[in-house]
Symmetry: C2
Subunit: 596 residues, 2 copies
């Protein structure tokens, strides 16, 4: 009796005891501590020459971050300083917990859009969501559940990002020309734009359009070949800051004449935010709102915001880590901590930003320490520059946002999908339509659902090929299962075999099911195999399961010991067929019951 | 250039035009009409000798149905005659639309339990649900969506059925001993039983227990070998009717003495139900309830009742159709029509019943025409026998229900799963616990969720085996993907390869990914392959995709034409490796761009 034929009668189970001991040992190893605090890995190896690179990179990112943070604070429906509050704590926290040198953590356009619906009621909601989302992300990261983001395909992520970008950009189109929009949603924003176009403010529109063109041109400038390439590169990277400086300066100069042709940002509360626990209850219009009420207001955000921010940071860290393994779960831990710490300083939810990370990478950052410079810059801006920010024209901020959103809409990806696999446009469309016209949260759920449908559909219809063959003069049906068999496909196999037999004119007396590609089966499949045998008996046909692995055969045989006669191992197809029709017993399975 | 290498540059799409034409032709063929009305298939072939068999079978089933129908009407929280209203229209309708001779349609214990929560408010809810559920089932059947039931595995169905049986049986335990139970739920029913046991009614308990023992014994009696086997067989089949007749007779006789030791069913409204549209609005306690309000009261039932009844009828028709293909979608059409027609006569939701179908089959029914006799019997009972039904002791009905539920609890299935595949006990427990202690609807959702988790988990972690091999003196990494690659597993493959390379001491310069078992890939997988190539380049390693099919290669190459160099077909592994390291171009793929 072959050694592993024991499995036919005893199911192999993992040794739970040894699993626990191994898990315990793993938790206490020194490498686990450094995995959870990556700073302990790179800081001891820090070299002095990194300092300059990190400083330059951090400074450049800071110049990009500050205007964007002010702009996104407005997109979120909060006062502009909240954007700055969200832009520094993440940088500092990521230094300790983060493992990718290029990643920068701050609020993003998408996060701002998603908190808008309740942040307009009170900033306390946004800060509470920041804390709760951070806690959820931290727990998921500690539980190593980063694997869940694999279930969202690129078409769905693309559809989501595109629709968010279009929505945010559209909301700003009114600000670009000096109009006030009643809503941040896609259709109302454009309706307002076209219906009020005659009453646009000329100076705002002029400044806005010029700034936008400048930003788009400056993006291309880094590719210029002649002259000092370093100069062109850093000019391109600082285009956001230059636009803001220009617009602010213009507004300031013109205001000294007494008139103010631009709509400006207005008063920003000076100073650093207070450090304290996030609000677990609040007051709205004089009425007390409890924790439970706050939760029910923010509702689905507690699911979608962790999901989207995890997706963003995992995608970004993988994009910038060629050839290395990214510890997705550690990135989630870092992100969770950034949000939790941020909520202590009135931050809204934060995550990695693709554009700023690209700026960081292009600036040649060496370690996460660059973030310290970025954070310090933001703090200085909050401490000293808020009076200057008063003069930032709204149209300048709008142009910055629109330019950033244009780069998020990667139309070439649609043509890529069209060329490569048109079927993948279905989850793309299934995401982008609800995102644009319903809500971002439901849109991404629809996309995930569309993704899952494919997995389930293809697992219910495995590739099963049946053909009639003549072996040694006997007509048999040879069944080839090209995929895993599980409960969803169990009946399909049975139906396909019976249907095939019902349609055959020749007298087929034997069905051989090849099992080399079947790794494992479950109880439902086993019941269906037994049922198939019964069905075939009424059609006066036998079935043989040829070259199935012993574990799968065991699942069936433990249910019905008589079934072991149908499992044949290790013989050629001709031998098996010949033995079956000639009734020679020495090629039947050599498996015997343990006690016989 | 090989003919199918064209696929690298043009994606093969199904010809939509011809699909539509084919579909149209199919709809209009005569066989489709007979498929939709199976009566047109078997009635022309009806023979006179079938008549006697069908009559006997129909009569026997009728004798079982009538007491059960009265009992289930009570389980549903309705007056007993509603059970009888539900028991005839299905039989007649199934004759026209049904395709399995053994199946009988009437209300079942599970259906009764599921409508109880709102039927106690007013019967109109149950009738409306019958109509709506029937319409949903009809549409699903016409759309051929029978395939969806494949996603519910046997462990989940078993868990659901068992918990329903235990709940229903437990609810009746009080009636068996003459107690009144305040609730039909599991724990309250048993609490009530044990706390009020001292005050049981002796005569009810005696009759109940004796009836129950009789029923359980009579079930075994059909296996008796000596004497007239036909006699024993029909005695066993008529045990329900005998029990009811005995109990009713006893109650009637004793009542003529003026005392009534049993709790009896009481007044049943005589006569046939009116024929009319189901109620789309109703009045409860004098208040008008609109259609919308009724819908929100019945809530989740509109999903769970169609699901459960479809599951029942598909399972039953497959169980009794050995060797034949069951048209699951046609059975759904039949079930839908039965419910819709039933709702016109105040029926509650109906489906196939396993026990009655078994009785039908054991009685040797030949065609669905047997149902006509069953239906006629029920009508006659409604017309003439309601005064007799007054005397049916409640304890008798309880004993019938409990006996039926005991046969539904198939404990051997649990031991089967334990022996065969212990892992399948997880979805079983995930179903039975919420079903018993929360609700049937949520329980089956939990079970389905537990099932789906397995499919998704295993598709995200395909079997990928990587080993290092020495081919022609070169160290390579050979990657074997044992399963389909889709978006959920795309990154997993990439990660596993990079992780393997990072852990190797030897210098591996080539990774070969075998693709014989990869049927098709999607856009996300293609992007990950391209990304993997980039990752490996930073590790100074190349990648070759060996023996992938042309369709999969095409998905990648249409995204990035340079990638065609990594796809090798039709050469042995040694040739491919040698060519790679020696740079000989005649073994590279012979694929060329169409225009070159």
């Amino acid at each position: 009796m072959r050694a592993d034929e024991d499995n036919l009668y005893r199911e192999q189970l993992p040794n739970v005891g040894s699993l626990l001991v191994d898990g315990g040992r793993k938790l206490c190893r020194p490498s686990t501590i450094t995995n959870k605090f990556p700073i302990l890995k790179w800081l001891p190896r820090y070299r002095m020459e990194y300092l300059l690179q990190d400083f330059i990179a951090g400074f450049t990112v800071g110049l990009t971050t500050i205007p964007q943070a002010i702009a996104y604070g407005v997109v979120a429906g909060l006062e502009p300083q909240y954007g700055l509050y969200s832009a520094f704590m993440g940088c500092f926290t990521y230094i300790v917990f983060g493992s990718c040198k290029d990643v920068t953590i701050a609020t993003t356009a998408i996060m701002a859009l998603m908190v808008n619906q309740y942040a307009t009621i009170s900033p306390d909601y946004a800060v509470l969501v920041c804390f709760l989302a951070g806690s959820i992300i931290l727990v998921l990261g500690l539980l190593n559940l980063g694997v869940l983001v694999r279930f969202i395909s690129i078409p769905v992520i693309t559809g989501f990002t595109m629709s968010a970008a279009v929505t945010i950009g559209s909301a700003q189109i009114n600000n670009l020309v000096g109009l006030t929009s009643p809503s941040n949603d896609l259709l109302p924003a454009w309706k307002n734009f076209f219906s009020h176009l005659p009453s646009l403010r000329v100076w705002d529109a002029l400044l806005g359009v010029v700034s936008l063109i400048f930003l788009l041109l400056m993006k291309k400038v880094k590719d210029i070949k002649w002259g000092n390439r370093i100069f062109w590169k850093y000019l391109s990277l600082s285009r956001n800051a230059l636009t803001v400086i220009f617009g602010t300066f213009l507004a300031y100069i013109l205001s000294r004449d007494g008139k103010q042709p631009f709509r400006v940002t207005g008063n920003i509360t000076a100073g650093l935010p207070p450090f304290g626990l996030p609000p677990f209850s609040t007051t709205v219009d004089g009425e007390y709102v409890s924790f439970g009420d706050m939760i029910s207001t923010v509702g689905a955000s507690l699911g979608s915001i962790p999901l989207i921010s995890i997706l963003e940071i995992v995608a970004i860290s993988k994009a910038f880590s060629k050839g290395k393994i990214v510890d997705a779960s550690q990135e989630m831990v870092a992100l969770g901590m950034c949000n939790i710490m941020g909520s202590f300083v009135l931050s809204m939810p934060v995550t990695g930003s693709f554009t700023r990370t690209a700026v960081n990478n292009a600036s040649g950052v060496k370690t996460p320490l660059g973030g310290a410079v970025t954070g310090a810059l933001v703090l200085m801006a909050l401490a000293f520059l808020t009076q200057t920010f008063y003069y930032i024209p709204k149209t300048t901020l709008a142009s910055i946002i629109i330019a950033a959103m244009i780069s998020l809409v990667e139309l070439h990806k649609i043509s890529d999908m069209w060329k490569s696999k048109k079927r993948d446009l279905f989850p793309f469309v299934a995401t982008i339509i609800p995102c644009l016209f319903w809500s971002l949260e439901y849109g991404i759920l629809c996309g995930i659902g569309a993704n899952l449908i494919y997995i389930l559909y293809s697992s219910a219809r495995p590739q099963v090929f049946i053909k009639q063959e003549k072996i040694n003069g006997y007509e048999i049906a040879l069944v080839d299962v090209k995929q895993k068999l599980d409960y969803a496909s169990a009946e399909y196999l049975k139906e396909k075999v019976v249907r095939f037999l019902n349609h055959q004119n020749e007298e087929i007396r034997l069905v051989v099911i090849k099992g080399e590609e079947i790794n494992s089966i479950d109880y439902t499949v086993a019941m269906n195999i037994i049922s198939l045998k019964g069905d075939l008996e009424t059609l006066h046909t036998d079935v043989i399961c040829w070259n199935w692995n012993v574990a799968s055969a065991g699942v069936v045989c433990r249910l019905n010991p008589e079934m072991r006669n149908i499992f044949k191992f290790d013989y050629s197809l001709e031998e098996v067929v010949a033995a079956h029709f000639n009734g020679i017993s020495n090629t039947t399975s050599t498996v015997t019951l343990g006690n016989e």
